[in-house]
Symmetry: C3
Subunit: 165 residues, 3 copies
Amino acid sequence: MEIKKRLAELGFELPPLPQPRGAYVPGIQVGEFIWTSGQLPFVAGELRYRGKLGVNLSVAEGYEAAKLCVLNCLSVVEHIAGTLDAVEQIVRLVGFVASGEGFTEQAQVLNGASELLFALFGEKGRHARCAVGVQELPLGAPVEIELLVRVRCYNNLGSEEHFHT
Amino acid sequence: MEIKKRLAELGFELPPLPQPRGAYVPGIQVGEFIWTSGQLPFVAGELRYRGKLGVNLSVAEGYEAAKLCVLNCLSVVEHIAGTLDAVEQIVRLVGFVASGEGFTEQAQVLNGASELLFALFGEKGRHARCAVGVQELPLGAPVEIELLVRVRCYNNLGSEEHFHT
Amino acid sequence: MEIKKRLAELGFELPPLPQPRGAYVPGIQVGEFIWTSGQLPFVAGELRYRGKLGVNLSVAEGYEAAKLCVLNCLSVVEHIAGTLDAVEQIVRLVGFVASGEGFTEQAQVLNGASELLFALFGEKGRHARCAVGVQELPLGAPVEIELLVRVRCYNNLGSEEHFHT
């Protein structure tokens, strides 16, 4: 439970497994890869931030929202892999930032997520990234983040069979 | 031809292989993965819907457009894999929804695609998903959908060599 | 150095390895796959184009910007794989085009990247593609391109260990 311990030391805790807002699942594992669904800044089932960067939210607020998104992604990874200690590499992060006309600091916003990943996982937390400023996100969220993660081994429950209900 | 039969029972048929609108191919297979290009709501070579959600299109129309996009994705998968029965898992769906200011029901729109996948493939149809509201899509389409699919085995023609002309 | 030679014959040269604008790396290799980060139209460390298609930039300018983005992607691939001759397949290209209201020629813009890939790599350069028109991109760039590439083998330095500093 090394990563969970580091997370607590940094003052964070994982949110509960995010509930899909439609006919999809929070994430899928195939072999050593886990793709999470795009995650929003939920805390205890409530969207913590709403709106757009460059309209009603500051870069500092967007930075916090990006942290919350990636914590939700990690909750998905933990649920699928069994433990965050199975993470071998954060491969790719895509961050969509709801952006008002002329707002071009998407990178600064997403650093909230990227810096947390590096603080948690060290070298394994370094990732490729796309930062995009979009018109609107589901439920009026200001940030949405998707992760692709490589994990050490198959989970006990067997690849993508995990979210069957 | 189990999936094709279920598709017909649900009242759908696959559109012809979508023609690329540029210097790319409809999809690529590498090993057990097929990535489709982003697909638009084409029917018989014509874009069935144009415009934006929250401007000139209702959620119900967007839902239908999302179905058409994913049918075009499945046409690509069938063309590459030989049969939709080779699908082992719909892994990831990314849906871009052309959205007017303040439209935040991207999830409801994309359920048109996700629910069809689940109806067709059952548990194998459950997928990770990103829903994003964007400014404009090619040709004025209201929805664009990209699929990542895991298939059972290599096609007869050999991985990504498929679209060579 | 076959690809580098063809690049020179076509009148291009690779830009220096693009510097990340945040807490991420230019690209990640896992096994035979390399994911690049989203790349902007940088030349010698300067953004060559700024603005939006359909506002202050023409399709021809966007086409040139897309070429520059993909050259930056290829600089990342070369840095990770050691040589562009290791490229087995350009698998997937995602192109985000900063688009003014009503601009729907994202495909024509991204052909700047796709046609260059095909000229350079031939059949190996054919790829799946998503074209999306977005509100804003980092630093005011008009185009951002992400590549997924399959390479022949592991690099000498060992998969994603490459960008450690």
